[in-house]
Amino acid sequence: MLRVEFSIITLIEDLIRDWEITLDEPITLETRLVADLGFSSIDIVHTVVAIEEHFGRGRLGFEELLMHGDQYVSDLTVGELVAFVERKLS
């Protein structure tokens, strides 16, 4: 499902458009939200909402992705987001 990959990368590019960060390379599936784009936890919350809004299928249950056992994940790649959304939409 390349469509999901394209949508999410486009969405993140648009999201960070006026964040005043300069990227050395374009956003790819390997880009990490926290380490490469400087996301805080509240940024991740808003990004999840933006993704859910984009696909228009309501809540997708991102807690499955954001929590491993009793720990919140400390970072997330764009590829992990894409794989999660593809799985949920299929």
């Binding site: 960070i16 805080s40 309501g58 929590m67 009793d70």
Partner: protein
């Protein structure tokens, strides 16, 4: 033409405003405009939601429904994930009923709604919506229409970083700050309100919406942290230079707010009806009540021991997290702001929690234990009121609310930390929410110099719709307070009840995910309403 101007003042209370609109000992009146506004109109106490908290209360104000109907109970929403608590924020998709922005929009009224909580992600309106409580990095995408943001950026002095919610900053407690940092914290709210005022002024002047609504929330933030510099009874008679500066800074905020009110009312023009309201009032709390610690001591709750990780230690120190043993805990409090206790029910054998059949007896025993938490000296109950969710949150969203809602004797918010003792006096009083806020009205057709009977927060929606000349949907839980309006106004514009509100897509969509059985039922209902093929 602007028919209706609504100004929200988060946490505003007559306890303070009645003082700031009177001459002080030096003769100064801090809020002279508000004084004349109140004198020329009607004022009433506005009773907040059962838990007088910003998100549920503003959503009740915007929908005319109590939380059991609208579905927003707190800032944080907690879902269980693999037996662990997963925490995220409530957002506009959680609101199960129509807002006045939507009701007015679909009747061709143009609206502008600025800085209201739980309005992101924005739902389409006939006009403009800029949500509150959204960090600046996400404001553009949450503006409606999105072009509004670009338009505001072109305004002289517009600074989204000053305007928007700063999550890290807002959650700081002044206890951890130096005196200089404290001053900076209070001072930070002055340019913030200036930014919201400028956006409001711009849209008022250039768009003239039928319903113009803006909320100022510095009142709540400053009162939380600096109440002891504001409430007359608490202000030191012999203040230190720093205390003097803190009070002066707080008063500067209210002086500035008064000027914003004056200019917005002037811009709306003499034909507009103007309403102001708060989501809850304010008072001071004098003691810490560690409710989870009490539940632990009574055997309802079990703590998890540290795994030595950095995340565990960080969350242990936070006021917003609590490390529970989810396999054994039967009842606990999620968040300080909820003032609520959740009882865990095992849905399947072997799951943690009590059996569903034991619920009534278990809850009765829990209430009994909470009633016995008393002041060792006076014998007075620490928890003045304990309401079941059927009492506090009746409606289709009730099952998402805590099982019990507590009101502490000093109206404080509970602590969920694992510390002893359970009840502890605070080093100094801190601001906390009070169930009674304010409701003010003035303008053509509104009775001058009147003290009205107390209203409910859900009445504001009905009042604003009436002011716009619209029918009041029959399923609104609020009513228009007739006595606010002159006899001539009521004859010329009788209060009319009309068709019910329309169903909201998100509320049902969320419910669709609940269970397959519920899903079938909802699809059936949607069929009947003609919403689905």
């Amino acid at each position: 033409m602007i028919r209706t101007l609504f100004i929200g003042l988060d946490g505003a209370t007559f306890t303070l405003l009645d003082v700031l609109t009177q001459p002080a000992s030096d003769g100064e009146i801090v809020m002279p405009f508000l004084r004349s506004f109140i004198a020329g109109g009607t004022r009433a106490v506005l009773r907040s939601t059962p838990n007088p908290l910003t998100p549920p209360a503003w959503v009740s104000l915007m929908t005319g429904r109590w939380p059991g109907q609208h579905g927003v109970f707190d800032f944080l929403r907690v879902a269980e994930q693999n037996g662990e608590g997963f925490t995220t924020l409530y957002d506009a998709r959680d609101i199960r009923v129509e807002t006045i922005w939507a009701i007015a929009s679909r009747q061709q009224q143009r609206v502008a709604a600025l800085n209201f909580p739980i309005t992101a992600p924005p739902r389409p309106v006939n006009g403009f919506l800029l949500p509150g409580f959204v960090p600046w990095k996400h404001l553009r995408r949450n503006s409606y229409p999105e072009s509004l943001y670009e338009r505001l950026k072109a305004l002289d002095g517009f600074n989204p970083k000053e305007l928007a919610w700063d999550f890290e900053r807002e959650n700081q407690s002044l206890d951890d700050l130096s005196e200089t940092e404290c001053e900076a914290w209070v001072g930070y709210h002055l340019p913030r309100e200036e930014q919201w005022f400028r956006v409001a002024r711009h849209l008022l002047a250039s768009e003239q919406p039928d319903l113009m609504a803006v909320m100022f929330d510095g009142t709540d933030k400053i009162q939380h942290q600096a109440w002891r510099f504001l409430e007359s009874a608490l202000v030191s008679s012999d203040p230190s230079p720093w205390e003097r500066r803190m009070r002066a800074l707080c008063l500067r905020y209210f002086r500035q707010l008064d000027q914003y009110l004056e200019q917005l009312v002037a811009l709306a023009g003499p034909k507009a009806q103007v309403f102001m309201a708060s989501d809850h009032g304010f008072t001071h709390s004098t003691e810490v009540v560690r409710i989870n610690r009490y539940l632990y001591e009574k055997g309802y709750l079990y703590w998890k021991s540290s795994d030595g990780s950095e995340q565990f230690t960080r969350r242990e120190a936070s006021a917003f997290f609590t490390h529970l043993d989810w396999k054994k805990t039967l009842a606990y409090c999620h968040t300080p702001s909820s003032n609520g206790i959740t009882i865990r029910i095992a849905r399947h054998p072997g799951e943690p929690g009590i059996a569903a059949a034991d619920y009534p007896a278990f809850r009765a025993r829990l209430i009994g234990d909470l009633e016995t938490l008393c002041d060792p000296h006076s014998g007075e109950r620490i928890i003045r009121a304990i309401r079941t969710r059927e009492e506090a949150f009746p409606g289709p969203a009730m099952h998402q609310a805590p099982d019990l809602l507590l009101t502490l004797r000093d109206f404080g918010f509970v602590s969920i930390k694992n510390l002893e003792p359970v009840v502890l006096p605070r080093p100094y009083p801190v601001g906390t929410h009070h169930p009674e806020g304010i409701f003010l009205a003035a303008g053509p057709g509104i009775v001058a110099g009147q003290r009205g009977e107390p209203c409910d927060i859900v009445d504001v929606a009905a009042t604003l719709l009436y002011s716009l000349g619209l029918e009041i949907p029959e399923d609104l839980e609020g009513r228009t307070p007739e006595a606010f309006f002159t006899a001539e106004q009521r004859v010329a514009h009788p209060i009319r009840q009309g068709a019910p509100t329309l169903p909201v897509a998100d509320g049902t969509r969320q419910a669709v995910e609940a269970s397959a059985a519920e899903k079938a039922k909802i699809i059936e209902q949607l069929h009947m309403l003609g919403y689905m093929e």
